[in-house]
Amino acid sequence: MTDFFQLLFSGVATGSIYALAALGFTLLWQASGTINFAQGEFVMLPAFAMLGFSAAGLPLPIAFLVTCVLAVVVLGWGFKRGIADPLLRHGLMPIVVATIGLSIAMRNGVRAGYSAEAHPFPSLFGDALFHIAGITITAGDVGTLVVALALVLGTQAFLSKTVTGRAMQAVAQNTESATVLGINVPRMVFYTFAVNALLACAAALLVTPTYLAKFDMGEGLGNKAFFAAIIGGFNNSRGALLGGVIVGVAENLAAAYVSPAYKDAVALVLFMAVILFKPEGLMGKKEMRKV
């Protein structure tokens, strides 16, 4: 039984990371109708930025803050102005293709410009171990879980409790009415991109000690996060959290009790099941298409 809990806990810790990236997916979708297939690379780039700043002598927390600012400018503003704005007018397909292209460009850019090898990344929480009722937990696991949860819930609260957050939601639900109500729509959309960039930075800080900083680290992460977002419900931010944790736990249990060979298939199977039986996702709302 302790085995089960050990697996459950490390699954939840992994899942909370998927949830962070998945939250970015749902946010962008809700606010601007963008599906960003470069989400994994949005986590990879800040990881390398932090490594770079650390190498330049900045302590990790400062490097993280500098990276956050940089990410808001490049991955938030730059991504919105350079890719999302010009392409969204033409529908969803161009932006999907463009972000897939962007992810390939980012991956290979880092590979060519930095290196193709994996690099160690300092853990924010140290390597302390706790033994609770036969389960071993690292400070890193607990820290990741707590920070990820706090970020997801914080984002939720920001969206539902603050004026800015509610304005962002209004834009997401009905852009025209929001404009009539005097909400600055482009600014709200930019805020969403900025929040997405910040979440990506936080995810980078949390995952890189385990994933190791590597140019293709975003590939698997982006896929899992996308599945998690679909499973949880693409139009519900809480769904992203649920989806992430489900994928993380299911993977770990399958690896131990079925076969490690099928580990990566688990997310796909769940994804298919959800698409077939509950296409709006576990926590999503059904959306009517306006004709």
Binding site: D3, Q6, T14, A118, H131, G220, A256, K263
Partner: protein, 383 residues
């Protein structure tokens, strides 16, 4: 004045052009077809750097039979299909020899191309099957698993006095080959394999496999995965408080693994065919040379690449001509002594299958560094 200037310039250009043309005609072209991205990036990058360093040294010393070596590098993306395509491309470009890929799964596929074109192909792959297919153009730069594993098994049985072992391996050609070889070797030494744990290439979370290893309750654990996965496995083993000896073959105590696993690598024991920490002045010189050029310490794959080029050099010199078939023939049964050919770093003998034999080492990671515990003699020397 201007006129003379122009004429002189034109003349200079002509000479320069003619010069390069001549150099190209004489150069020995080789292709590096290695893993620069994907799961094999660490291994491939080291191998390539080793090859390029050797080429630099050989060219600086006057080349092979007076000819310079030229190399091109292509990235297989750790993908056998890409490796095969690139090998075909290199052959079309008329290379004299191919170095790489390092991954067993890739060389198994790509060596069919070099065999058909009769181009000597040096690989860093260690899967036993590579040289068992009767391909006369494939040559190893390190031990095959079937040479290395008996040495590991002997240590587990006699050195650690283990009766039972759990085996954790990565589910690819390299891992499965190693798993089969160690299982056979352990059984031959009277040690029972009580858990057979498969892991994925690129696996992030090792909590499940480590849990399985723990619950198997064996006297020792044998870990056989690629670099990054080895590091993650070591960390998870440390995290879950695994207290039995952790033994590996080469990769487990590699420089990159130590760097990535940090403190968790301490205590890991491995048999290595090649290590920069070998008590050998030539090896220490190589280590310093490599560090000077690349600003990091080479792992065994760097040594494979470096010594591989010197093996080719020795074979070309033995054949006395730059001819692919003659050189491949010369490589079979080639014995190179480090005293005469310092570039091979250690005495080495190549057999008729393209497998090689030399001394090897048992190392343990202590304070983040490989320390040689024991020097094991070459198999033939031991007989």
């Amino acid at each position: 004045m201007t006129h003379t200037c122009h004429t002189a310039l034109a003349l200079a250009t002509l000479i320069a052009l003619g010069g390069t043309g001549l150099a190209q005609a004489q150069a020995i072209k080789i292709a590096n077809i290695v893993e620069l991205s994907g799961t094999g990036a660490s291994a491939g990058t080291n191998f390539k750097n080793g090859v390029e360093l050797a080429i630099k040294d050989i060219n600086a010393a006057g080349g092979i039979l007076g000819k310079k070596i030229e190399s091109t590098t292509l990235d297989t993306q750790s993908n056998p299909g890409v490796a095969k395509g690139l090998t075909q491309k290199a052959i079309d470009d008329g290379v004299f020899a191919v170095f790489g890929p390092v991954f067993s799964g890739s060389i198994m596929v790509s060596m069919a191309e070099t065999q058909r074109a009769e181009v000597p192909n040096f690989t860093g792959g260690e899967a036993a099957a590579i040289t068992q297919k009767g391909n006369p153009y494939v040559f190893r730069t390190s031990f095959t698993q079937s040479t290395a594993m008996p040495k590991v098994a002997r240590y587990i049985a006699n050195g650690l006095k283990a009766k039972t072992v759990a085996v954790m391996f990565v589910n690819n050609d390299f891992g499965k080959g190693g798993r089969d070889a160690i299982t056979k070797a352990l059984e031959a030494n009277g040690v029972k394999v009580v858990a057979d744990i498969s892991t994925d290439s690129g696996q992030i979370d090792f909590s499940a496999p480590v849990l399985k290893a723990k619950s198997a309750n064996a006297d020792a654990l044998f870990v056989y995965t690629n670099e990054e996965e080895s590091a993650r496995a070591l960390r998870e083993l440390r995290k879950q408080g695994y207290s039995k000896p952790i033994v590996g073959e080469t990769t487990l105590t590699g420089q990159k693994v130590i760097e990535l696993a940090g403190e968790a690598a301490n205590g890991a024991i491995a048999h290595v065919g090649l290590t920069v920490d070998a008590p050998n002045p030539l090896m220490l010189k190589f280590k310093a040379r490599f560090y000077q050029d690349y600003k990091y310490i080479s792992d065994h794959n760097g040594i494979k690449g470096y010594t591989g080029v010197y093996l080719l050099k020795a074979a070309i010199e033995k054949a006395g001509k730059v001819d692919r078939v003659a050189v491949a023939k010369a490589l079979h049964g080639l014995k190179v002594s480090a005293a005469k050919n310092p570039g091979v770093l250690m005495d080495v003998a190549m057999d008729d299958h393209g497998d090689l034999d030399r001394e090897s080492f048992l190392v343990e990671v202590k304070n983040g560094k490989q320390e040689v515990k024991e020097v094991l003699p070459a198999l033939n020397a031991a007989k």
